[in-house]
Each structure stands twice: as C-alpha cells, then as structure tokens.
C-alpha cells in the first residue's frame, strides 16, 4: 500500500516536476523586441523563470536553473560564464558560436548566413550570375561554410573601414552583376549605406541587403528572416531546445518592385 501511494504521488507530481524547468532569461531591458519575447515566454507559463536584465541589476547567486535563454550578443556573452545549456537568439557576432562554454549551445543568428542567402538567391536568379559578397574582416566569419554548389560565379570582396567609399566605388566598377552585403555594422553606417545605394542605382548593379530596413532605405533586394514569424517561433524553439530539438527560421526575399525593373537582370517571376 505504501508503495502504491508512493507511486501515485510520483505519478501525480512527476509531470509537474518535469513541466516546470528553471530558465534563466538574460536580455537587455531597453530593447522592446526582447521585452516582447520575454513576455511571450512568460505567457507560456511552462517555465520557472529567472530574469537577468543586463542594463539593470543582475545578480545570479545560484546555478539552480536548467538552461539559459539569451537575447542578443551581450546576453550570450554574459551567459557563457554559467556553463549551462544555452539557447541564444538574435546573435549577430558569428564568432560567438566558437566560444560556447557548455556542452550544449544553440545560436539563432540575427541574419541568415551566406549559404542561406545564396540558396535563396539561387531560387530567383539565373545561373552564372556574377556575384560578389561584400564583407569586412569582422563579418568574414559570416561565410563560415564553403560556398560551393551554387550556380553562380561567387567572389568574396573584403573591405576595410579606411577609405571605404573609394574602395566601394572600385568594387562597383568591377564586372559583378549582384553584390551581396554581409551582415556588418559597417554597411549599416548611414554614409556607407547611402553610397552603396547610390552606386547600386548608378552602376545598375543589384545589391542584396541583409535587413528588411534596407529595403525601406532604397535597396532593391533584401534577403533575411521574417521577424514577425520569428517572434512566434521563439517560444517553440525554447520548448524544442528543452526537448533537444531544433527548428529553423524561415527566410524571405523582399523586393522593391518599384525600382527592381530598372536593373538589367532577369528574375524568376515566381
């Protein structure tokens, strides 16, 4: 009988014990998207949450959580010290992937990597298109995988911040048809981006951006994640991380149809 009660109690409490995993949420409170995601996680009600807001007081005294959910590069860096399983979202520093201190780290990057982008481009571009991937030393790690098997002539152009405008002009004068921008803060500099946009239009070379905002700023084509979908997928990704499953985020092609026709390139209409 005692054994029966024990088993009964175990049966009653075992699922409860399993559904309430302890999670440490590390994020910067001043970024609204992270707040939104934290709220979504809280709304799930499936985890015992411990929060660490990097810009406010964050004092974690014990390691009584099961894994860490980090939003952003600084949160991921901060989380490495706990040596706990880590799932990090919106990582822009690709080198962080090599610095994982736990036996289990999963990084969801802010932008799709080069292979993903080129794969997406291969869906719409004709073969043998001459493509240049423009990156700096910081963003060279974005091209982590060998770019083989694509039906394009791919060249990687590395550019430094010194005399960037004149170097950009030199690159744009080369015989490329499409220039893909690696996700790099350098290209988000207003001056640089504007020059890239101008050169794109004046040289009639299609520039592929990595952020949907770039589309608004005038780039004719952007390949990146659909962030609205990502927001809804993140809770699921956390759940799957607990279950040691991985889900991939969908990648979208954003085209500025008003201007795209001005470029001398044939797209697959579909």
């Amino acid at each position: 009988m005692k054994v029966f009660f024990f088993i009964l109690i175990a049966i009653i409490f075992a699922p409860l014990e399993a559904s309430c995993a302890h999670i440490l949420l590390v994020y910067r409170n001043d970024i609204k998207a992270y707040q939104r995601l934290v709220n979504q996680v809280k709304m799930m009600g499936k985890f015992d949450l411990l929060e660490c807001q990097l810009n406010n007081s964050c004092s974690i005294k014990n390691n009584s959580f099961d894994f860490i959910v980090a939003f952003g590069d600084s949160a991921a860096k901060y989380s490495h010290q706990f040596k706990k399983p880590l799932i990090a979202f919106f990582i822009s520093d690709y080198s962080l992937a090599y610095k994982c201190s736990s036996q289990r780290c999963l990084y969801y990057f802010l932008f799709p990597n080069a292979k993903q982008v080129l794969t997406k481009l291969s869906e719409i571009l004709p073969t043998k298109t001459r493509i240049a991937i423009l990156c700096s030393a910081n963003s060279l790690s974005w091209i982590s995988q060998p770019l083989k098997g694509f039906p394009f002539e791919i060249t990687v152009e590395t550019i430094s911040s010194s005399e960037i405008l004149s170097n950009l002009r030199k690159i744009f004068r080369k015989n490329y048809q499409i220039i893909v921008l690696a996700p790099d803060l350098l290209f988000l500099q207003k001056k640089v981006l504007r020059e890239i946009i101008k050169l794109s239009y004046t040289s009639k070379k299609l520039v592929v951006g990595f952020s949907s905002q770039m589309l608004e700023l005038g780039l004719p084509l952007v390949i990146t994640y659909d962030y609205e979908q990502i927001y809804s997928l993140i809770p699921k990704a956390i759940e799957n991380f607990e279950k040691q499953k991985y889900i991939s985020f969908p990648i979208s092609i954003f085209i500025n149809k008003k201007v795209i026709k001005g470029f001398p390139i044939n797209f697959d209409e579909q």
Partner: protein
C-alpha cells in the same frame, strides 16, 4: 538761437558742439555701416544657410529620386522641421515636373511664372523669401564624367528669419549707442565745464595783467594735474613779471631822471629825420614845446641863427649821411621869445645790436651864460689893462703937470702979475691945471683916486648929489627918486660915490633928447647864489634908469673904456671913472640897454661890515 549766438565762442560750447558733431557723424557712419553690414551679413548668412540646407537635402532627395524610398523624403521633411528658416522644398523630375512639395504650415508656395535660381522676392504677406534651385545629377562614369540628370529641387528660405534678429540687434545697439552717447555727452559737458573753468580763470587773470594788475595770484585748485601745474607756472610767471616790471620801471625811472633832469637838450633823431626822443629841457632852451619838433622836425633847422646855419648844415650832413662822429660845434639859435642863445652841439650816430643805423643821438647845451661870462672876463681884462695904462700915463702926466704948474707960477711971480708974461703964464697954468684934473680923472679910473671910506648911507649921498644937479638938468627931464627907507649902510668914499651918481645922472640926461625921465632907485639885495660873476652876499643896489636913446651891444661893450664917447665933445672918462670907483668899492656894475628904449645901470656895493672897516684901519 540767441543763447547759441551768445555762447558760440565759449570753450564748453565749442567742445560740446565738436563732440556732438563727431557723435552725429559717427552715428551716421555707424548707421550706414551697420545697414550695409546688416544687409551683407544677412545675405551671406542666408546664402550660407541655403547652401547648408540644400546640401543636407540634396543627399536625401538624390536617394529619394534614385530609390523612390519614402524614408529619404521623410528625412528631408525632418530637416524642414529642424531648420526653422526653411519654409519648404519642392522636388522636380528631370523634366521639371513637380514630384513632391513639402512646405511649412501656413506657408504658401509663391506663384512664380518662370523660376530662376537665387531669387529673392517679396511676398506682401510672408515677407521676403529666398529661393534656391538645385540640380541633382549622378555620375554614371567616373572616368568619362558622364552625368545623368535626376531632377531638381527648390528650397524656399525665409529672408526675414535672418534679417529680423539682426534688425532687432541693430535697433538694440542703436538705442544702447544713443544711451551711451547721452551719458557720454553729459560726461563730456561735465569735463568741458571742468576744463573751461581754469581756462576762464587764466583768461580773466591775463586780462587783469593786461590792465596792469601784476600782483595777481590764482589760488584755485582744479584737481587736474596739468591745469594745476599751468596755474603754478602762471603764478610764477606773474611773480617774475612783477620783478621784471619793477626792474623795468626802475630802469625807466633812471632813464627818465637822466633824460628829463638834464639841462641839456637831448634828442634822438631817426634816419628819416623824425625825432624819436626829445628831452623836456628842449622847451627850456628853445622856448618851443617838444611836440613842435616832433610834429615838424624842420623847426630845428629853422631856429638856427642864419649866420651859423652853413656850419650846422655841414655838420648835420656829415653826421646823418656819412654817419661820422663829429667834433663839438657851437652855434646860435633864436628862441621862441626872440632871444639869441649859444648852444654847444655834439652828436653821434647810433646803431642797433645787429649793426643797423638807427639815427643820430644829439645833445645841445645852452652855453649862453658861459659865452657872456667869457665876454665879461675879456672885457674886465681889457678894462684892467687900459686902467693900468691910463694910470701910468696919468701919473706921469700929473708929475709933468706939477712941474709945469710950479714953473708957471714961478714965472708969473718973477715977472709980476700985470705983465704980459704973467698973463700968458696964468693961461698956461690954467691949461696945466685942466690937464692935471684930467690926469686926476684918469687916476680915478685906474686906481679909484684917493679913497677915503667911511660908514655911510647911500640914500643921503644920492639926495645931496641930486639936489646939487637938479638945477643943471633940462626942465624936460623928470628926475624920480625911489630910495629904500631902511637901506643898509655901506663902507665907501662919499666924494667918489657922489661923483658916480653925478656921472651916471649926467650921462642919462645927455642920452635923453627932449622929454624923458631919470629914475634913481636904491634897494637892499641879498644874493644867495652867484649872479653874473657877482658873489653871494648882502648888497646895496643903486639903479639909474633913463628913457633915453639906449645903446647897442657893441656900444655897451665899450662904454667903460677911457676916452670912448659917443658924444661929439665928450672926453670919455665919466663912465671909466664910475667903473674905477665901483671897483675900488669892491662893487659890480651891470648895464641893460635897448636902442630907443633906454638904459639901466645897476651898481652893487657890498653892505657895511665892521670887519671891512677894521681891516682898513
């Protein structure tokens, strides 16, 4: 206006006026300059600001035209919000068709028929507006410089935005400037007053000095170091001036005393002949006032005696024209009273410090008295020698006559009284006695005869002598006696003095032809100084004046000579005897005579003194 006219020469007004004129000119200049600067600066600011905002917009608009991305248009709009002077902008395509226009609320885009760049136009409601049109081109090829025109955009900028603050600043500055100018004017007036006060004191003090008030000292202190030093210097100057004036006055007084208290006629005659200076004694000598010579310099030449004029002219010519110092000359002048005076003249040319001929400095001394004295001495010496000669002759003649008379009386006595020889001897005796009497008279002249003095009253002798002579005088001649009642006694020989009176009366009666008058007068006279060689002392004076024919000077000079007579049968011994008797009595004779008017003899006989009598004894 009246006050202005009254005070325009005042230092305060002048300083204040100068300040106001400078202030007005400066204000005018400042206004013109400020207006020019305001306009230039406003335009410069406007153009610079337009360029700045154009440059800012151009990038966004260029990107907008290239990418059609509304983001850039929004950015351009945000620029409009950030630059309040930017009223609006309009984007045109390359065919100048309006694509989009964005403007500030309440700003109405101007209706411009034909747009031109850098246009300033004035809208009645919105004020001045500056429009700038910018072309947007892109480089298609850096090598060939091929460009493509994307479009245009125009910016409208408020001119008033730049002008108003500057106008306000200009107005504020002008008001502040005027206020400062007012304060400065008040300060200027205060300092002008402070400056003019010591100057006015100095001016009034200088005026007092000009009026001869040299002992002036300024006691006021102005508080301005330079003026106080000036006042100290002025006070020191007045002290020095007083000293200088005192010395000058003393020097002038010395010169005046030297020049005016000299008996000589001093003068300074300029090269042109005018008199620069004539001493007051000129009038005393010539009888003409100094002014007569100063008004008419030729008077000098005119009063010179005609006989001496050639000598004087020669001297004057040498002194003036040849500028030679000359020997002293003597000449005569005829005074204003008609008298002839002897002058001793000496003159020298004078020169200034720089050697310029300044005229002749001359001196005329009245030497008439000296000349007369010389004449008198000469006459006395002549009379003395004649007397000595006459005395010798008379003595010898008297001795001879004594022998003749003795021999004649013996002859008569030996021949008998009734004899022819005795009669002839008596005639010889009579002639010899007359000759002896003549000799006696000569001796009277030469030695005064036998001199038997005693203390006598001259009035008594006059009365006795006149009573004896009255009968022998012509009835047409009146004899008047004016005898001093308290006449001092004299020490003299009554007989000889009686002869003097008799001889003078006789001469007077002989000088009167027809009616006339002989006036005999006695007086006591005390001489305190020498009078024409008559030594000072107490004298009894006998005056015999007649209204006869009178004598000329030449006659006067000879009347006391023996044997000189103007009468046909005169012996010329009467006045010679008078002269001898007076000399014996240590007396003096003065003669005044004018032809046709009469003659006056004055005989000075010393009053009686006991010591004379005791010395005689």
């Amino acid at each position: 206006m009246k006050i202005w006219k009254l005070n325009k020469d005042n230092l305060i007004v002048r300083l204040f006026l100068s300040y106001l004129i400078l202030l007005a000119l400066f204000l005018l200049f400042s206004l013109c300059l400020a207006s020019y600067v305001l306009h230039s600066e406003t335009k410069l600011f406007l153009i610079n600001s337009a360029n700045d905002v154009t440059k800012l917009l151009k990038d966004d608009i260029e990107l907008f035209l290239l990418s059609q991305a509304e983001t850039y248009l929004e950015e351009a709009k945000s620029i409009l919000e950030n630059y309040p002077y930017l009223l609006g902008f309009t984007i045109y395509d390359n065919k100048f068709s309006k694509i989009v226009s964005h403007k500030r609320k309440n700003y109405q885009e101007p209706k411009i028929s034909k747009f031109s760049n850098n246009l300033i136009f004035e809208d009645p409601k919105q004020g001045k507006i500056y429009s700038k049109l910018e072309k947007i081109e892109i480089n298609l090829n850096d090598v060939t410089k091929q460009k493509k025109l994307l479009g245009y955009f125009r910016v409208d900028i408020s001119y008033d935005y730049f002008e108003k603050p500057k106008k306000h600043l200009f107005l504020t500055e002008t008001v502040a400037y005027l206020m400062f100018a007012l304060v400065a004017a008040i300060i200027s007036y205060y300092f002008s007053s402070k400056l003019s006060k010591p100057i006015n004191i100095l001016i009034s003090s200088a005026d007092k000095i000009k009026d001869g008030e040299l002992n002036i000292q300024i006691k006021e202190k102005t508080g301005i170091r330079e003026f106080d030093k000036l006042i100290e210097a002025f006070n020191a100057m007045t002290v020095a001036l007083q000293e200088s004036h005192k010395r000058l006055k003393e020097s002038h007084e010395h010169l005046r005393i030297v020049a005016e208290f000299t008996a000589d006629w001093e003068y300074w005659q300029a090269p042109d002949g005018s008199f620069l200076y004539i001493s007051p004694s000129c009038e005393q000598i010539t009888g003409y006032p100094v002014e007569s010579f100063q008004k008419d310099p030729s008077l000098y030449e005119r009063i010179i005696h005609p006989e001496d004029l050639p000598t004087w002219r020669q001297h004057h010519e040498e002194a003036h024209e040849k500028q030679q110092s000359h020997q002293e000359i003597e000449f005569r002048i005829v005074t204003a009273q008609g008298k002839t005076k002897w002058l001793s003249h000496v003159c020298n040319p004078v020169y200034s410090n720089d050697g310029r001929f300044m005229g002749i400095r001359g001196s005329n001394r009245d030497i008439t008295y000296r000349k007369e004295l010389e004449e008198h001495i000469f006459q006395a010496q002549k009379m003395e020698s004649i007397a000595r000669l006459a005395g010798g002759v008379a003595h010898d003649l008297n001795n001879l006559m004594a022998a003749i008379i003795g021999q004649t009386e013996l002859l008569c006595y030996s021949s008998g009284d009734d004899t022819m020889e005795c009669q002839r001897a008596k005639k010889i005796l009579n002639i010899a006695r007359k000759a002896s009497a003549l000799a006696e008279q000569l001796l009277n002249y030469a030695r005064g005869g036998s001199f038997k003095p005693e203390k006598i009253n001259l009035n008594k002798i006059v009365e006795e002598t006149v009573s004896l002579q009255e009968t022998s005088l012509s009835p047409d001649i009146k004899l008047k006696l004016d005898l001093s009642p308290d006449l001092w006694p004299i020490y003299g020989d009554p007989h000889q003095l009686s002869q003097v009176i008799m001889n003078l009366t006789m001469n007077a009666s002989e000088a009167i032809s027809g009616e006339g008058c002989i006036h005999i007068e006695t007086r006591n006279v005390t001489l305190k100084a020498v009078l024409e060689s008559i030594p000072p002392g107490k004298y009894v004076v006998l005056k015999v004046r007649d209204t006869g024919a009178g004598m000329d000077k030449e006659t006067i000079s000879k009347i006391f000579e023996p044997f000189f007579s103007t009468k046909e049968f005169g012996r010329g011994l009467g006045l010679a005897a008078v002269f001898g008797i007076v000399k014996t009595h240590r007396g003096h004779i003065r003669v005044y005579s004018e032809v046709g008017k009469g003659t006056l003899f004055e005989i000075f006989i010393p009053a009686y003194r006991e010591e004379d009598e005791s010395a005689d004894k």
